[in-house]
Assembly symmetry: C2
C-alpha cells in the first residue's frame, strides 16, 4: 500500500494509557489526533479479589465511548488475555471499529468473541508483519517481535508530529522455535529516520540477565522425556504454541504419544494446527481415554492448571479426581511456567498434592523449565539504543518496573527531561519537541463478575468484603401502621457471625437489647414525643454489642415491616 | 545436674506432630512415653484467610488436653511466632506445664503472655545452651544452633528407647554476628553415641546453595549507608536481633542516628538491650520526633512492615500518612527481608507507593539484602552426616519440602525403610529398631479470629466465604398463627448482590416469585392439602432466579414471622 501524507492535527497528539501502566495486565493505550483515534490493545487483569466474586478487571472505556466515531482502529499486539481479554466489553459498550491483528491473534480473538456472540459482528483485519495500514492521521507499520506467544507485533506509528514506536510485549530471542529472531534492522531503520516517542515493555526491567531463549527449553525436555520411567505431565500456559510445538516435535522424534487435558489447551492446539504452526501430529495425538492402550513411559500429557487453578486439569489430577489420569509412583510432572505473584499458595498446594500421589514434580524453585517472554535489562537497553527516541515512556509494568526501565533509559543517555513515568489515566500531549502530562482522567477500573460478565461497583465490593469479614445480623419486627407500635418481633438471625454453640446466648442478648430500644421507642410515642429512628438505634446498639463481645462490628440489617 | 537412668515406657514411645509437618508454621510436636509427655514448640500459622476475619491458625490441642497431667514440660526451641504464638491458647485450654526456653525466647514469651494476662501464671524455666533437664522418662540436653533469631536451640532427647534429636529451625552460620557458629561436635558426639531418630528442619530443603551468613549483610549495609544521600529506612523482621545489632554497630561507627518505628521493633530492641545483645546505644537512638534535628543523610529508621502489612509503619510511610516520617527524593528504603509467599502483592504495592514518594527502594528481586535463617541442602546433608541417625523424619515444611529433605537423606545413605515422611496428626511409634506410623489423629486446625482470639469453625468460615462471594438475599413475611396464611410481606432485601442501579427490578422480580410461591402455598392450605415448606421453596426458587440473571447463587435467608 502506497503511503500518503498525514493530515496534521489541529490539537496536540494525545497519548493516553487507560490500562497497563502501574500494573501488569489490562493493557490499553489511546492515540488521539483531532480527527482520529487509534486504540492499542484491549486487555483484562485477572484479579486477586475473586473470593469476592470478581472474575477480572477491565479498563474504563468511558473516554473512548464518548469519542467512538473518532476511533478508526483497534490494534492488538498479540493474543494474550491482558491484551485482548476486554475486547468483548469494549464492543458491547458501543465501541465499533475495525480490529487489526496478526493471524494467530485473530484466531484467539475469534474464539473469545464467540463467547459473547460477537464473532460475526466484528470487522477483523488480519495483518502480516511489515504491513502498513494507512489512516488519515496515522500510518501504522507492523513489526514482528519475539514473545511467549506466536505472531506478536510491535507497532511503528507515523503521525504528523513524528514517529511513535509501541513495542507491545517483547523479548529478543535468537531461537524462538517458531518464527525468527526479532529483526533489529527494522527498529534501527526507524531510529535512523528519527523516533519521537518510544513506548516499551517494562515487565522484566528488574531482571539483570538477558532473557533465556525459548529454544533453550528443548534439550531440557528432551533429557527429561528420554529418562521418563512413567507418565509425563507437562503443565504450561495454553497460549505458548512454540513450547507446545517443541513437545510435539520431541514426541514424534521419540515415538511418544501426547494426550491433551484442559479446554484452552485443546482449543489452542487446534488453532495452531489451523495455521500449521503445529502439523502432522495425527500419529502423536491420542485421546485421553486411549492412554491405557500405551506403555506408561511413552505417554505425555499436556495439561492446563500451571497456576494452581482449582478447576483445572492439573488440580484434578493432584487430588485424584481426573477421570482419565491417575498419577502413580514413577510419574513425572513438569511445571513449565512461572508462578504469577498471588498464585504461589494455590500452586504450592497443587505441587504438594502431586507429591502425595507419588509423582515427582519439577518446578521453578527446584528445576527451571520455563523462560520469560519479556525482555530483560540487556534487551531493553538494546531496544533503546536501536531506536534512540527523543522521548521515552516505559509501559506495561507496576510503578517499580517503570522506574527501573527509566533508569535503564538514563544509562543509554536519554536525559531526565525526555523521560516520562506516567500511569493509567495520564493524558500525555506530544509535539515535535515536547512530551508532557497535561491532564489526568479519573483513573477508574471496572470490576467484572460472574460468567455473565456483569459490572460490579466498588460499593458492592465493599459490602461483600464486610459480609465476608464479619458476617451479618438481621433483626426484624412488625409495626402497626396506625399505632406505630411494634406488634411482633424482634427476631434476630445471625449468618457467619459465630459458631452455633455460641449463637444461642448472643441471639438472646441481642433480642434483649432490641427490646429495650423498642420500649424506649414506644414510651416516646406514648408520651407523644414522636418517633425515634428505630432502625438506626438498633444498628448502632447491636454493632456496639457485638464489638464488645466478639471484637468486631458485623453488618447489621434492621428491618421493620409495616402492617 | 547429674543424669539418672530413664524409666522405661511400658508402651512404645510416640512421636506426634500436631503442627508444622505439611505446612510452614504452627510448629508443635508431642513426645509421649507411658507416664510422661513433652511438647516441643507451640506455634501459630498466619493465615491467608484474614479477609474472612481469620487472624491466624493454631494446632488442635485436644490430644494434649486429654492427657494434660502427663505433660511435664513445653520446650520452645526459639522465639518466632510459629514456635511460641499458640502458647497462650494452649495454656487457656487447660494445659499447664513448666515452659523451658532460652533467655531471649523467655522474654518474647513473657511479652506475648502479657497480652493474655498469663505472664505471672506460668512456670518459666530458662535454660542455657548445654543444660540438661532430667525427667523420669526423658533427659533433654539443649544445644545452640544458628537461626534468624538469637538464642535458638536444638534438643537432644534421651529416652529409654534411644536418642532423639530435634533440630528446631537451624542453619550453620560461620558469622552469626551474635553468638558463635553451631558446634558440630555436639551433634557428632550424639551421633557417635548413636541417634535413634533425627527430626530436622526442611524449610530450605529445595535450596541447593549453602545459606548465606548473617554477617554477610554487614558490608552491604555499610556500603549503602556510607553512600546515603538522604534518610535510610531499613525494614526487616522485628525479631532478628543480630541484624538490628549490625545496624546499631554501623550507626555508631558512622556517627549516624537510629530512630525506631513500629511496636514490635521497639519492643524487641528493648528486650535485646535487657540482655545486652544490643548495648551502649544511648548516643545512637533518637526519638522519631527528634529526626528533624539531624542532617537527613545521618538518619536511619528501623521499621516494621516488610511484609506489606497495611497497618505497619512502612505502609504508612508509603502513602505519606506517617506523622514523623515524610519520604522524599534521595531517601533510600532497604527491604531487608524475604517475601513470604502470599504476601507478594501487598509488599509490591508498598514498594510501588514508596517509589511514587521519590524514594529509592532496594528489595529481593533487585538487590538481595536478606539471608535466610534455614539450612539449605549442604547444611542439611552435613547435619545428617554428623548425626547418622537410624531413623529420619523431616519436619517443618510443606509436603514438597519434606520430600526433598527425604531425598537428601537418601543421598547420605539412609535407606528408604528408615525414612518416614509424615504429616500433622500422624502417630509415629518408635522402638529401638522400628519407626512407623500406627495411627492418625483426625488432623484439625483451629481458626482464630479477632483481637479476642475466639475460635471459629469451618462452618462459619464457609458462611462468610459464601456471603463474601455472592452477597445475601433476605425475604420476610408474616404468617397468621391460626389461619397459617401470609398476612404481610413479602419484603426482599439485597446486600452485596448488585449495584443499586439494578436492585430495583431484581427486588420486584424476586417479590413476584415469592408471591407466586405464597399463592401456591395458600391454595394448598385452602384446598386442605396441608402445608408446603414455604421457606425451602423460596430459597430454591430465588437461588434459581438469581443464578439465571446474575450467574450465581447467593445466600438466601427466608424468614416467616408468626403472629
Amino acid at each position: 500500500m502506497k503511503s500518503t501524507a498525514l493530515k496534521p492535527s489541529k490539537t496536540p497528539l494525545k497519548v493516553i494509557p487507560i490500562g497497563g501502566l502501574g500494573e501488569i495486565g489490562m493493557n490499553c493505550m489511546i492515540l488521539e489526533a483531532d480527527e482520529e483515534i487509534l486504540v492499542i490493545d484491549c486487555g483484562l487483569l485477572f484479579s486477586d479479589l475473586d473470593h469476592f466474586g470478581v472474575e477480572f478487571i477491565i479498563p474504563d472505556f468511558t473516554y473512548l465511548r464518548d469519542r467512538k466515531d473518532k476511533i478508526k482502529g483497534i490494534f492488538l499486539t498479540h493474543g494474550h488475555e491482558d491484551h485482548i481479554g476486554a475486547l468483548g466489553f469494549a464492543l458491547k459498550s458501543g465501541i465499533d471499529a475495525p480490529i487489526y491483528c496478526s493471524t494467530f491473534t485473530s484466531l484467539l480473538v475469534r474464539e473469545r468473541l464467540k463467547e459473547y456472540d460477537l464473532n460475526d459482528k466484528v470487522d477483523m483485519r488480519v495483518f502480516k508483519m511489515g504491513d502498513q495500514i494507512q489512516f488519515k492521521q496515522f500510518k501504522v507499520t507492523t513489526a514482528s517481535v519475539n514473545h511467549s506467544i506466536v505472531d506478536a507485533a510491535a507497532l511503528i506509528i507515523d503521525t504528523s508530529v513524528g514517529k511513535i514506536i509501541h513495542t507491545g510485549d517483547f523479548k529478543i530471542d535468537p531461537v524462538p522455535f517458531i518464527g525468527t529472531e526479532l529483526d533489529r534492522n527494522v527498529f534501527k531503520k526507524a531510529g535512523d529516520e528519527g523516533v519521537l516517542l518510544l513506548l516499551s515493555d517494562s515487565t522484566n526491567a528488574e531482571q539483570h540477565e538477558h532473557s533465556m531463549s525459548e529454544g533453550g527449553i528443548y534439550p531440557k525436555f528432551e533429557q527429561l522425556l528420554a529418562a521418563a520411567e512413567g507418565l509425563v505431565v507437562i503443565s504450561m500456559f495454553a497460549s505458548n504454541v512454540a513450547r507446545m510445538s517443541q513437545i510435539f516435535t520431541l514426541a514424534k522424534k521419540m515415538k511418544k504419544k501426547i494426550a491433551v487435558c484442559g479446554r484452552s489447551m485443546n482449543q489452542n492446539i487446534a488453532l495452531a494446527q489451523e495455521i500449521k504452526y503445529i502439523h502432522d501430529v495425527q500419529d502423536v495425538l491420542v485421546n485421553l481415554d486411549e492412554l491405557k492402550n500405551y506403555p506408561r513411559n511413552e505417554l505425555i500429557v499436556l495439561s492446563t492448571g500451571c497456576q494452581g487453578e482449582y478447576r483445572a486439569a492439573l488440580a484434578r489430577m493432584s487430588i485424584g479426581e481426573d477421570k482419565n489420569i491417575t498419577l502413580q509412583q514413577g510419574d513425572l510432572v513438569l511445571m513449565s511456567s512461572k508462578m504469577i505473584p498471588g498464585n504461589e499458595r494455590a500452586i504450592s498446594k497443587v505441587i504438594n498434592e502431586l507429591f502425595k500421589r507419588g509423582a515427582k514434580v519439577l518446578y521453578e524453585s527446584v528445576h527451571e523449565l520455563h523462560v520469560s517472554g519479556h525482555a530483560c535489562q540487556p534487551e531493553l537497553k538494546e531496544m533503546l539504543k536501536l531506536v534512540r527516541p527523543k522521548f521515552f515512556i516505559p509501559i506495561h509494568g507496576e510503578y517499580r518496573h517503570l522506574v527501573h526501565h527509566a533508569d535503564l533509559a538514563r544509562e543509554t543517555g536519554i536525559t531526565d527531561d525526555r523521560i516520562q513515568i506516567v500511569t493509567n489515566g495520564s493524558v500525555v500531549e506530544l509535539t515535535p519537541d515536547s512530551c508532557k502530562v497535561t491532564d489526568k482522567l479519573e483513573e477508574t477500573r471496572v470490576l467484572i463478575e460472574g460468567r455473565e460478565g456483569s459490572e460490579m461497583t466498588k460499593l458492592v465490593l465493599k459490602d461483600r468484603r464486610k459480609l465476608g469479614e464479619t458476617g451479618v445480623v438481621f433483626t426484624l419486627m412488625v409495626r402497626n401502621k396506625e399505632s406505630r407500635l411494634i406488634i411482633s418481633g424482634p427476631e434476630v438471625i445471625l449468618k457467619g457471625i459465630v459458631n452455633e454453640a455460641q449463637e444461642g446466648w448472643l441471639i438472646e442478648e441481642a433480642k434483649n437489647i432490641v427490646k429495650k430500644i423498642v420500649e424506649e421507642y414506644e414510651s416516646n410515642i406514648n408520651r407523644g414525643e414522636g418517633e425515634s429512628d428505630l432502625q438506626e438505634d438498633v444498628r448502632v446498639e447491636l454493632r456496639r454489642f457485638f464489638n464488645q463481645n466478639l471484637g468486631k462490628k458485623p453488618v447489621v440489617v434492621p428491618i421493620v415491616l409495616e402492617m
